[in-house]
């Protein structure tokens, strides 16, 4: 490590940074605080680019969407609790299940994981912020506005109503004349921008922002999960954005991409949608699996078994995940030979999942489990993960899927996957990192209650759905006849869903209680091994007073782990305090490479997102002049953002022809 300091690899560096220490309360530390703090009040609120602030906003916003989507589900479960109930009209039911899907899949499941990753990445990687802090702010604002956009027409009774999968021609103009689908189409294109810039930010952050010494084989599994998901997003999101854009063109600009009456192809929609849709499933579970892989070992008092195998299996899952989209389309009449290939791949995708499952079980088996609340969620998750995976194996079997597909069996499967593999790790993750987020511990008693109520309610609610599916109950029906054999299973499911909702309420009350009255949290309450526990709780605005040197995967356990990897140094490191600065390191070995000049707080991302979203609203309402004005305003915001600033210069101008100016 020290060698790297003495002989910089790049002679164009503006200066060689000092190495030193900056304990809490020292002049240097106070200076750092001033440099990185956001302005108080609404100014700071709108202009901050602090990844911790943005991460928390992602978490809170997506959790609010989870509650809204959950409320929609409860209303549907009242309707379905018995046969022939007419609480809802068919149209209301259709909008509810569509918005439930959109909300949970797009506005909760990924954003909540982006929240964790945004908050945790720089702390786990030993950096002072994400690679592109302003882009990070833009990504959040666009997510928020896209969420509001997608909900704009729902209160008026004109919400999207063709299912989250939105098949044409049902979603086409001929069968859906209102604004319902236009809102969905444009909202998804807008949200796609947020997802894409967020993904770019994560990828560059991983390869550029790790503390010196943290070679690529030392990053936490959560980082691998989010990296894999981000790379997948770069390839998958264009497919869905294109699909929705073409649909909008069909609906409002007279094209015929999907219109069968004019040689358009409804199958094109299914392909484009599921080429995105299936990788997306892994996008919203792999980072959550990463949460477990990182946090579970803490409570087992030992490192994760098979770190490299789990990291590789994460990427293998994603790679295979791009080759299975046809398993959503087995019933479309494709030739048996073609679908048998996709069926076999869909079975094979369980293999990397098996790696992770046995790694977790081995970690518990070989460890000494401490039964605190987060651990309950992670251990419970392992069982739910297996159940969701096994029902997935059944749906991968082509002939069987031709029966199971579009029945409640698939509803059960996808909820075991999305709740089991996303919500349980997320809630466990909140229990785990809450002390870091807020500086207080969450209540253990309420915590254990919330786990058991959620776990029982979940299985009570969703397991009978498997049975409903095997009894032939189709998805997306607003009511059913009393003589179909589905009455009891549906009643049990409805009861279970309300038990689950009670568990969420206990969890929320625990948060509300602990925010004010929780015990003050020490820096590392769980005796965890990773870097985010080496900073105070909550972390100071600059994260790390000095950029630490990292020697192993478990910097806080090194004294007890007895490895030959050397010792990390968290007290002494690069000071970097001539303005907002952090260290850029090389992609694989994390050798110090460049001093990164980080941008100040700015309103530009907020206004770019605001005007951009208003531009989309203009497209929706067909206000062409307004759209044009908003696009121009967005362009001005972008110009203000991109305006070259002397203080962001990272390398000496003129040396080796380098003239690079600011950074994003």
């Amino acid at each position: 490590m020290k060698d790297a300091v003495e002989t910089p690899s790049d002679r164009t560096l503006a200066r060689i940074p000092e190495v030193g220490s900056a304990p809490i309360g020292s002049d240097a530390e106070r200076h750092l605080s001033e440099l990185w703090e956001s302005a108080p009040g609404w100014r700071g609120w709108l202009s901050t680019v602090d990844h911790k602030e943005i991460g928390l906003r992602y978490l809170v916003t997506s959790f609010i969407f989870l509650l809204i989507g959950g409320g929609e589900a409860l209303i549907m479960r009242v309707q379905l609790a018995g046969p022939d109930r007419h609480l809802l009209t068919p149209e209301q039911y259709n909008q509810l299940f569509t918005m439930h899907g959109i909300t949970m899949i797009f506005l909760y499941a990924l954003p909540v994981l982006s929240g964790f990753s945004n908050y945790l990445w720089p702390l786990m990687l030993g950096s002072r912020d994400m690679a592109f802090p302003r882009l990070n702010a833009l990504s959040y604002w666009l997510f928020l506005f896209a969420g509001l956009f997608l909900y704009a027409s729902f209160p008026l009774g004109e919400g999207p109503n063709s299912g989250w999968f939105n098949y044409v021609p049902l979603a086409g103009l001929e069968y859906n004349t209102g604004p319902n689908i236009d809102v969905y189409a444009l909202g998804m294109v807008l949200l796609g921008i947020s997802t894409t810039v967020g993904a770019v930010n994560f990828i560059v952050t991983l390869f550029r922002m790790r503390a010196p010494g943290m070679s690529i084989d030392k990053v936490p599994i959560l980082v691998w999960g989010t990296l894999t998901a981000s790379v997948a997003n770069i390839f998958a999101v264009p497919s869905v954005s294109l699909a929705f854009f073409l649909l909008w063109l069909d609906r409002r600009n007279g094209t015929h991409f999907f219109d069968p009456l004019n040689d358009g192809k409804p199958m094109l929609w299914q392909h484009l949608f599921w080429m995105f849709g299936h990788p997306w499933v892994y996008v919203i579970v792999l980072p959550a699996m990463g949460i477990v892989s990182d946090a579970l070992p803490t409570f087992c008092r030992r490192p994760l078994v098979g770190y490299a195998a789990v990291a590789l299996s994460t990427m293998a899952t994603m790679l295979l995940g791009f080759g299975v989209w046809i398993h959503h389309m087995f019933a479309t009449g494709l030739p048996a030979l073609a679908i048998s290939f996709f069926g076999a791949t869909s079975l094979a995708i369980s293999i990397p999942s098996a790696v992770a499952v046995f790694a977790w079980i081995a970690t518990i088996w070989l460890g000494r489990p401490v039964f605190q609340t987060p651990f309950l969620f992670f251990a419970g998750f392992v069982l739910l993960f297996v159940m969701g995976g096994l029902s997935g194996v059944m749906t991968a079997a082509v002939p069987l899927d031709l029966q199971l597909n579009d029945t409640y069996f698939v509803v059960a499967h996808l909820h075991y996957v999305l709740l089991g593999i996303n919500v349980f790790p997320v809630v466990g993750g909140i229990y785990y990192w809450f002390p870091k987020f807020c500086g207080r511990m969450m209540n253990e008693t309420l915590g254990k209650w919330s786990f058991w109520v959620l776990f029982i309610g979940f299985n009570l609610g969703f397991f009978p759905m498997h049975v409903a599916g095997l009894l032939g109950m189709p998805r997306r029906i607003y009511t059913y006849a009393p003589n179909m054999g589905w009455n009891s299973v549906n009643l049990v499911t409805s009861i279970g869903s309300f038990v689950f909702a009670a568990g969420i309420l206990i969890f929320l009350s625990n948060i509300a209680f602990s925010l004010k009255r929780g015990a003050l949290a020490p820096q590392n309450p769980w005796d965890a091994p990773t870097l985010e526990w080496a900073v105070p709780a909550p972390p100071p605005p600059y994260n790390f007073a000095v950029i630490p040197f990292i020697a192993s995967r478990h910097p806080l356990w090194e004294d007890r782990l007895d490895t030959a990897e050397g010792r990390s140094n968290l007290q002494e490191g690069y000071l970097l305090m001539e303005g907002r600065e952090t260290l850029g390191t090389t992609a694989l070995d994390a050798v110090p490479d460049v001093i990164l000049k980080m941008p100040d707080d700015t309103y530009a991302p907020f206004f770019l997102a605001l005007f951009g979203s208003l531009g989309f609203a203009g497209l929706l309402l067909d206000w062409n002049r307004f759209t044009f004005l908003m696009t121009a305003a967005a362009g001005l915001s972008l110009a203000a953002w991109m305006w070259p600033r002397q203080k962001l210069v990272q390398r000496l101008p003129g040396v080796n022809g380098v003239t690079e100016a600011g950074r994003g």
Partner: protein
């Protein structure tokens, strides 16, 4: 012909009013009771070679999956609660151990998945094609929210058009051609075969075969809008001679309504209903709604929503938007005279 229809009514008179199964040749009443309770229960019931291998596949997969779940649950419980030798509170386990868990666990999983995949492909091959070429072709066209059923014939006069009720000869493979008149639907008679989407602009095919006489429930299983929930159909499997008799009856045009009340009803029908419905043998030749020439030969109304009784026929005509909100048919406010006339006319449509 009236005979074949009444045969079914006779057979099912003692059974469940909503889902009477007519297993004249099947003494297994226990099985009958079960299917009556859950007419789409494909997991426990299969009545033809297009679904039987799949049902067995489902059992094997379920068994394997339950065993794996049990093993994992036991391993997890063991991992959580096994006795451990005491150690210092601060102690941390070693990093590079336990890989054997992953090697063995993943190895066994891979072997099991490989075996399942082979079995799955064999089953797919079994259900993809019938053993002998289909004896009969039925074209099913899905509409919002009902099914048009056509039996092709080289002689146009011998074609049969009906709705929501497919008759097939028992024990013979039937080719079903599937198309859609509007949005995507899916054809699913799970006790006989898996589902196939009906995609506008495409002609899909599947085959099915019923090895036992009876009535098999089917359902649209691709979300298709407001009344996706009420888009059912029935497949009636009959002995070949009964099937032929049914076909012959269906080929006939409606007899002219002679009784005065029925004649008045026919006039009303031509004026009010003929834009969409057709009754062969009259001037009603609408193409947007079910062909009603032999309405009374069918067991159900409104794509499986109501049993076909004179009362339900009138209730459907007057309260269609309450019974099936969003259905393409408007509700009619009928005077008592019109009700009687229309009812009389509809009762002639045997």
């Amino acid at each position: 012909m009236h005979d074949s229809g009444s045969e079914y009514r006779h057979c099912t008179a003692g059974g469940n009013a909503f889902f009477p199964l007519a297993f004249g040749s099947m003494p297994d009443t226990a099985m009958k009771a079960e299917t009556e309770a859950a007419p789409l229960n494909y997991f426990l019931h299969s009545y033809g070679p297009a679904s039987l291998p799949t049902m067995h596949l489902g059992w094997v997969f379920t068994a394997v999956v339950m065993i794996v779940l049990l093993i994992i649950a036991l391993l997890l419980a063991g991992a959580l609660f096994r006795k451990r030798t005491p150690a210092a509170a601060q102690a941390i386990g070693r990093e590079n151990e336990g890989m054997r868990w992953i090697y063995i666990g993943t190895g066994l999983s891979t072997a099991a998945l490989f075996a399942l995949a082979v079995y799955m492909l064999i089953t797919l091959n079994q259900v993809a094609q019938p053993a002998q070429p289909p004896a009969l072709t039925v074209t099913v066209t899905a509409y919002d929210w009902w099914w048009k059923i056509e039996y092709d014939d080289d002689d146009p006069a011998r074609r049969v058009v009906t709705a929501n009720e497919i008759h097939i000869p028992v024990g013979r493979p039937v080719l079903v051609k599937l198309q859609s008149a509007d949005v995507i639907h899916a054809f699913w008679a799970p006790l006989l075969a898996g589902k196939t989407q009906m995609i506008p602009g495409l002609l899909n095919r599947q085959w099915l075969q019923a090895d036992a006489e009876g009535i098999y429930r089917g359902q649209c299983v691709q979300y298709c809008g407001l009344q996706h929930a009420h888009m059912g159909f029935e497949i009636v499997a009959q002995r070949p001679e009964a099937f032929r008799a049914w076909q012959d009856a269906q080929r006939k045009a409606a007899a002219p309504a002679s009784e005065p009340n029925a004649a008045a009803g026919q006039k009303f029908f031509i004026e009010q209903c003929a834009g969409c419905h057709s009754v062969r043998g009259t001037d009603a030749a609408g193409k947007h709604a079910p062909d009603l020439t032999h309405l009374n030969s069918r067991r159900m109304l409104a794509a499986g929503l109501l049993t076909n009784t004179p009362e339900h026929r009138i209730e459907w005509t007057t309260r269609v938007q309450d019974l099936k909100p969003g259905a393409r048919m408007p509700a009619f406010a009928l005077t008592p005279g019109e009700t009687a006339a229309l009812s009389a006319f509809l009762s002639t449509l045997d």
